[in-house]
């Protein structure tokens, strides 16, 4: 019974998501485009940050690498982002493997610091190689048309982002039950215990970081196509890196739904606060946003998804008890 209710809820949510562009205006749709985008990034981060427990604060670097790779391929070589996104993923994945190899022997805060430094390095390199990246000016995407992943209406981006996000959810569903995913969770719980059952801890972490970066890089391509331009200080900033991690943690790390829930709550909230308070006192909207983040982390430390899941299973258990009492 519980399973059918779950599937019906999922089906209803999916249908609502699919028909939403028919009712909503361009602005509302663009809010959802961003929410789905951040959800996809949070799900990608979850692979190494949530399941693997390796706290990365440098994922904006992979967004940047992904965005720049496909944009350079498109603008300088005329290669469509539909192809370029795979190159973007692979290049971001290589960067992820690189940071994994150099930093994943570090633990806890030291790894987080190394990822911050890495993102900073990527930003500086993007600024430095002016003849390829056009430096601080950034690159404008001038090619148009669906074959170049450029659409006239927000609703196309909406479906593209929705598809990415759902792919991310399905991937994590599969991943968390795969032998590799289980190994990653095991090393998060206890590295030495994981080693003693024969898990190659170092290699597992590196592959985890590579997968996470690969997905994030693909996200970067899609985001660049939506923005129509790329610029180092717009894409590769610490704000973005922390935002990715915050969304996943608030929603519920190491679950296929946490990133989605976190993003659907936090992204509209931050846009709303920005539009209301942004013009009044500089920084007020950020303070309010920070307060909300703090409240969630203090009140629901295991994330919103885990909280909801427990409440629902409690209610279900009570109902079952009542039902059982009646029949007896």
């Amino acid at each position: 019974m519980k399973i059918t209710i779950k599937w019906i809820t999922m089906a209803i949510l999916l249908i609502l998501a699919l028909i939403l562009p028919l009712f909503a205006n361009e602005f509302i749709i663009s809010v959802f485009v961003q929410a789905y985008f951040w959800a996809f990034l949070a799900l990608s981060w979850d692979v190494i940050g949530g399941y693997g427990g390796q706290f990365s604060l440098g994922h904006a670097a992979f967004v940047g690498i992904g965005a720049y790779t496909s944009t350079i391929l498109l603008e300088s070589y005329g290669i469509s982002p539909w192809m370029g996104m795979w190159a973007a993923g692979i290049l971001a994945g290589i960067a992820g493997a690189f940071i994994g190899i150099t930093s994943l022997r570090l633990r806890g805060p030291f790894f987080a610091l190394a990822t911050i430094a890495f993102a900073e390095l990527v930003r500086l390199l993007l600024l430095y190689f002016k003849n390829v990246t056009r430096g601080p000016l950034g690159m404008l995407i001038t090619q148009t048309g669906p074959q170049n992943m450029i659409f006239e209406q927000q609703s196309y981006y909406y479906y593209l982002m929705l598809a990415s996000m759902i792919t991310g959810v399905i991937f994590l569903k599969w991943f968390e039950n795969s032998k590799f995913g289980i190994g990653l969770v095991a090393l998060r719980e206890d590295e030495e215990a994981a080693e003693s059952v024969g898990i190659n801890v170092y290699k597992t972490k590196i592959i985890g970081a590579t997968i996470s970066a690969f997905l994030t890089g693909i996200g970067g391509t899609i985001y660049a196509q939506w923005l129509h331009y790329v610029r180092p200080d717009v894409l590769v900033k610490l704000d973005y890196s922390t935002q990715i991690a915050a969304i996943d943690i608030v929603g519920g790390a190491s679950s296929p739904y946490g990133g989605v829930i976190g993003s659907l709550i936090l992204v509209p909230l931050s846009l709303y606060l920005n539009s209301i308070f942004g013009g009044m006192i500089a920084g007020l909207s950020l303070i309010l946003y920070g307060v909300v983040l703090l409240l969630v982390v203090v009140l629901l430390p295991s994330g919103i998804y885990e909280f909801l899941r427990r409440r629902i299973s409690d209610i279900m258990a009570k109902k079952m008890e009542k039902g059982g009492g009646k029949t007896a």
């Binding site: 032998k179 206890d190 215990a193 003693s196």
Partner: protein, 239 residues
């Protein structure tokens, strides 16, 4: 040099950074034996185990397993060959339940194929674990956790099961239960290398034993002989 034992250490020097702990440690274990390594706190027992399992790299010396020099092998490769370690303090995966912990024990390729057989085997050895398949490891008592840790090590169908202080922190009755289990394991054909502070209990069930003091093996021989030696009785048995 003739290597003929299942596991053999030759002149191992090891430690951490500048700290030299093991000095020319040599020992060997035959197939089917229970061998103990006894010593007081800080004598180098755990360091010896860490060197064998690959958690640390020795400064010099060699380790042979099945006549193969494994000194430079990474940990996971040693586990794959059938060297299982039941770590000190048990080190389970607390957020996973009993079955999931056992699944982790069968992570190696060596164990994967015979997973169902191995599961049945350890459930036969530890019926308590079968009753509570879904209990989280973190919520079990100390004795049960030790049982689970041993069971997890067995899932790999090890050639040698190495145990680091399995009796640590347990009530006398549970210690007895653990040592009975170890004897049962030997009957099942598992070779056992036991590292213990509880010298009396360990010597009672062992075939042979080594005594380590400040990083050097000072005595070794059949367990019965050691039990009757005055210096051993005074230093380790408190008699």
């Amino acid at each position: 040099m003739v290597i003929h034992m299942l596991l053999e250490l030759k002149d191992i020097n090891a430690g951490y950074g500048d700290l030299h702990i093991l000095w020319d440690v040599s020992l060997g274990i035959e197939r089917g034996e229970i061998v103990s390594l006894l010593g007081s706190n800080g004598a180098g027992k755990t360091t010896t185990l860490r060197a064998i399992s690959g958690l640390i790299r020795p400064f010099s010396g060699s380790i042979y397993f099945n006549r193969e020099d494994i000194t430079g092998y990474p940990i996971h490769r040693r586990v794959e060959m059938g060297l299982s370690l039941v770590p000190e303090g048990r080190q389970l995966f607390p957020e996973m339940n009993i079955v999931e912990n056992l699944e982790m024990g069968a992570y190696t390729k060596r164990a994967e194929e015979n997973f169902q057989d191995a599961l049945e085997w350890v459930f036969n050895l530890f019926p308590k674990l079968k009753e509570r398949k879904k209990q989280l490891a973190g919520t079990m008592s100390g004795g049960e956790q030790q049982m689970l840790a041993i069971a997890r090590g067995l899932m790999n169908r090890p050639e040698i099961l190495m145990m680091d202080e399995p009796s640590m922190g347990l009530a006398p009755k549970l210690v007895l239960e653990i040592f009975n289990t170890i004897m049962k394991l030997r009957e099942e054909g598992v070779t056992i290398f036991l590292v213990e502070q509880n010298a009396k209990a360990a010597l009672d069930i062992s075939d042979r034993a080594y005594i380590i003091e400040t990083g050097r093996i000072t005595l070794h021989g059949p367990a019965k002989e050691l039990l009757s030696m005055d210096e051993v009785r005074k230093a380790y048995l408190g008699i």
